[in-house]
Amino acid sequence: MQLSISASDPVSSIRALETNVARVIQGKEGAVRLAAVCLLARGHILIEDVPGVGKTTLAHAIARSLGLAFHRIQFTSDLLPSDIIGVSIFSQEKQAFEFLPGPLFSNVVLADEINRASPKTQSALLEAMSDHKVSVERKRYTLPEPFIVLATQNPLEFHGTFPLPESQLDRFLMSLRLGYPPVEDERRLLLGGGVEEVLENLEPVMTGDDLLALRERVTKVQVTEKLVDYMLALAEKTRQSSDFILGVSTRGLQSLYRSVQAYALAEGRDYAVPDDVQRLASPVLAHRILLKRGGDLDAARRAIEGLVASVPVPI
């Protein structure tokens, strides 16, 4: 089934993408919606959860649904930057060095278990994520557009891992958590005999151009001034509150703004409402802050939710 949908009907094309992904990730509509929003908002996704809840499957399903060039990189501690960026090799024919692009040169990159790679390799990914460019031996190569990094990490693994630094976390638009599926869905999954087959047969429902057109559309979503003030008030609170060491950065606010626009479009509106901000505050902001009393991402999410509950919504 080949579906090519024009961006003139953004809602149905986003729905088609979500439906397609939901065929393999069942019972996770919220997470799938957030993943779609992330794509629309030109962001990279960090999926963080315990093993075996479908992180890789989700990334895989998104890549396949988009019908774009896709590479999966399994991060390990001995992975070198050149393993993902590429290497220059001396070509006998041309009598010159020739650059052989690595797996990073594709539209969708699945960086599996990103926290297992050394900081050096992680930072190689950093430039690619923020600039969509990589530098190799004093030359800069532009990555294809769209360029999306889907990274996964296991929060419970400590042995032999290198936690991502704040600067790199800030470059992910959202951090998602999948969680265990509802009992009904899990039961169906067990009886249905796995999702590998479905995943293999997943057809793309959106082209790269469709996605780019949708992204253009997202920037036109209206965000009123009072809503911006609301977001500013939330950010200000993280910066002033004594509970936080590190508040939300300006990049974090920009990310929230873009995500809110994308979420509004996915909800079928051409304007954003306070509910969008509340829905996105924790996935977009939680991985960007540092709590004073420490704690994992879950604690950060709870802190953000508490914060949302204390700031008045503009009427």
Binding site: Q222, Y271, P274, D275, P312
Partner: protein, 704 residues
């Protein structure tokens, strides 16, 4: 401290404070007490403050900077006190007060500072009150106080509310703009008509330039005794002495003379003013006739405080009218005021065709006659007078010979550096052969007396600057001049001017630059005319025109009658009409007008309040009400509850009302965040949904 940071209202309070500071010096007679320049700096400072406050910035002037600024002002204050205000205190104190407030505003940081600044503003206001007492200003003060009180109560209330954990954003958002707009509007609506219509309580300003200081009286050149250099001193000043508007446009801009004072006795280098011959009280005499003869046109004059008891009048004046209880008339025909004017004095003069003086006819002859007083005459002067005037021709011809001799053979100068003066007039006539108008005029008077012609010295103003903006003439102190009046038998007292044309004050044609200064002068003139000296007569006139307007409004078929002709000049022999009294009929008019205005204002206010209470049907308003109703029905509605979440929760709680609530919320979101106003059918839909939910929610709280 309160739990909620937004409950501090710092920004709102600062803006309000700035606006009050902007209003505080309003009742000052601005051009008198405070220099315009100082006021401009003050206003600029306050505007900057308001901008700063509006931007919500928290960075203000640091305390040490404020101290430095305060110290810097101290020497300026001393200079202000000594140089600009001639030792008087009120002006500099007001300057100091305004400056202190400005500094205080700039250094606002804490709550306590705000109250201090507010008190400062209040005291400046009180000080400005002291300069002019007037019902409208008293009313202004009341409104100011009431506004401040209301504000205080409101803030106290909000702090209290915040203290008990109430966090309704509707309370947080003070309708500051509306409140300020309304209070300013109300102040204007109330005080302007009252200012214009209520009888004035006129009280002299405390602080006016030129009162009570001897130096200025001497410099004015119109005091009871003048030396030969008085005019020279006054001519250095560019200050406006008087403004005159002539009903006959042909007179505007001509070399008009304004006679101020006359001097008969010359003794030891100084002149003594002609004695007073007559005092009259105006209440039973009305307009004062000076000279017989038919007046041709009227002129209106506004004399600024000149620290002199002289009333300058055009030399052609036949009769004049002034609102003063008592006046004096000198033997030289100059009018003497009972006291130096302390505010702008308005009066009217009816002018005739020529410059016949109002002076008394001199007695036949003799050494005791002041206009032939021989003091100061020397043999050399007598010889010269006989030579120049000769014996041929009429008296007028002989006088003119002397006049032209002086005007052509002597030169004009204001420069007296290095002169040794023993007998100033002899030195002028035979040694230096140069001097200024007072020398020329004094010499001519004495020479005429040597030949037996009655004569005296006259001081006043000549010429002026025509302000094209309202067709009036600005006469400055630099237009001060001295000339001669001589008596020609069978004709009367005539004006002669021996000063060479080069030395006379000029009538200045408006230039490009002077247009700017004249525009400024025009503003000051208006302020003088319509604020400071808006008196009883003006009020009567306003009543008349309002009545006409009223009559015209109610009888539209009657064509608008032409304006009444200008006040008739009283014919020669007819008794002078007394000033019309304010009749009871007019009082009832004023009661009607004031009552109508008050009623209209109350109606307007009521309408505004109702509008505010009811408001047009907006989805946002309906959504607010829905929140309130849901809270009343027992659903917890926190401030941080977003609309769609509210809709979901309310829908679960009241499933039967889910649909209308969904419609309200979606219309509200469209309006508030989508920028699409609710119009047409959606309006009806909104109203229906509101009605449905209200009916549905009524009495639900018990269930909840």
């Amino acid at each position: 401290m309160t739990a909620h940071p937004a409950m501090a209202f710092g920004r709102e309070k600062r803006i309000l404070l700035g606006l009050l500071a902007l209003l505080a010096p309003l009742p000052l007679p601005l051009n008198e007490t405070l220099g315009w320049s100082f006021l401009a700096i003050y206003l600029l400072g306050v505007v900057v403050f308001i901008r700063h406050a509006a931007s919500g910035s928290d960075r203000w002037l640091s305390p040490w900077m404020m101290n430095v600024l305060g110290l810097l002002y101290l020497p300026l204050f001393v200079i202000d006190l000594r140089a600009f205000s001639g030792g008087r205190l009120v002006g500099p104190m007001l300057h100091l007060g305004l400056f202190a407030i400005l500094i205080k505003l700039a250094s606002l940081r804490r709550e306590r500072d705000k109250w201090q600044a507010l008190m400062g503003i209040f005291f400046v206001f009180l000080a400005s009150m002291a300069t002019s007492v007037h019902p409208s200003i008293v009313l202004f003060l009341l409104v100011f106080l009431a506004g401040g009180l209301y504000l205080l109560m409101r803030f106290a209330f909000l702090h209290l509310v915040a203290g008990f954990g109430q966090r309704d954003p509707a309370l947080l958002r003070l309708p500051l703009g509306a409140f300020l707009g309304t209070s300013v509007l109300m102040t204007l609506v109330f005080s302007v008509p009252l200012f214009a219509l209520l009888p004035r309580v006129s009280s002299p300003y405390v602080n006016v330039r030129g009162t009570g200081t001897g130096t200025i009286i001497q410099a004015s050149g119109f005091s009871d005794e003048v030396t030969l250099d008085s005019i020279g001193r006054i001519r250095e000043s560019r200050a406006v002495a008087l403004r005159a508007r002539f009903d006959d446009p042909a007179r505007t801009g001509i070399d008009q003379r304004y006679k101020g004072a006359t001097y008969d006795v010359y003794d030891g280098g100084s002149w003594r003013r002609s004695p007073r011959v007559r005092s009259f009280s105006r209440s039973n005499e009305g307009p004062v006739r000076l000279v017989e003869g038919a007046p041709e046109s009227w002129a209106t004059l506004w004399l600024r405080p000149l620290a002199s008891r002289s009333l300058p009048l055009p030399t052609e004046t036949r009769l004049f009218d002034i609102e003063l209880p008592r006046l004096g008339l000198g033997t030289g025909g100059a009018v003497i005021l009972p006291f130096p004017p302390v505010e702008v004095l308005e009066y009217r003069a009816a002018l005739g065709g020529d410059d016949l003086s109002a002076a008394l006819d001199p007695p036949a002859a003799g050494p005791e006659v002041p206009t032939l007083d021989p003091r100061g005459l020397t043999p050399a002067m007598r010889t010269m007078a006989a030579e120049v005037m000769g014996k041929e021709g009429t008296t007028a011809d002989r006088i003119r010979r002397l006049e032209s001799h002086l005007a052509t053979q002597y030169t004009y100068t204001l420069d007296f550096v290095g002169r040794e003066i023993t007998n100033p007039l002899e030195d002028f006539l035979f040694r230096y052969k140069s001097g200024h108008c007072e020398y020329f005029a004094s010499a001519m008077v004495l020479l005429l007396r040597a030949e037996g012609v009655h004569s005296r010295l006259v001081t006043g103003f000549l010429g002026g600057e025509v302000n094209p903006l309202e067709g009036y003439t600005i006469v400055r102190q630099s237009n001060a001049h001295a000339w001669v009046e001589a008596y020609i038998p069978d004709e009367g007292w005539r004006t002669f001017d021996p000063t060479p044309a080069a030395g006379r004050p000029e009538s200045v044609a408006p230039s490009t630059w002077s247009l700017v200064t004249q525009a400024w002068d025009f503003l000051i003139f208006r302020w003088d005319r319509y604020v400071l000296t808006f008196g009883f007569e003006d009020q009567l006139q306003l009543f008349g025109s309002l009545k006409d307007l009223w009559a015209r409004l109610w009888s539209p078929r009657v064509p608008a009658t032409e304006l009444p002709p200008p006040a008739d000049v009283v014919p020669d022999d007819s008794p002078i009409e007394p000033l019309p009294e304010l009749s009871p009929r007019r009082w009832s008019d004023s009661v009607w007008i004031v009552g109508g205005l008050v009623t209209a204002t109350i109606a307007l206010f009521w309408w505004l309040v109702r509008r505010r209470l009811r408001g047009p049907l907006t989805a946002t308003g309906v959504y607010r009400r829905l929140r309130k109703d849901l809270a009343g029905a027992g659903l917890p509605v926190a401030e941080s509850l977003a609309p769609l979440t509210l809709e979901r929760r309310a829908g679960r709680r009241f499933p039967d009302l889910a649909e209308p609530m969904r419609r309200i919320v979606s219309l509200y979101l469209e309006e508030s965040f989508g920028g699409r106003a609710v119009v047409g059918a959606a309006r009806q839909e909104l109203a229906d949904a509101l009605g449905q939910t209200r009916r549905g929610l009524r009495g639900r709280s018990a269930e909840g």
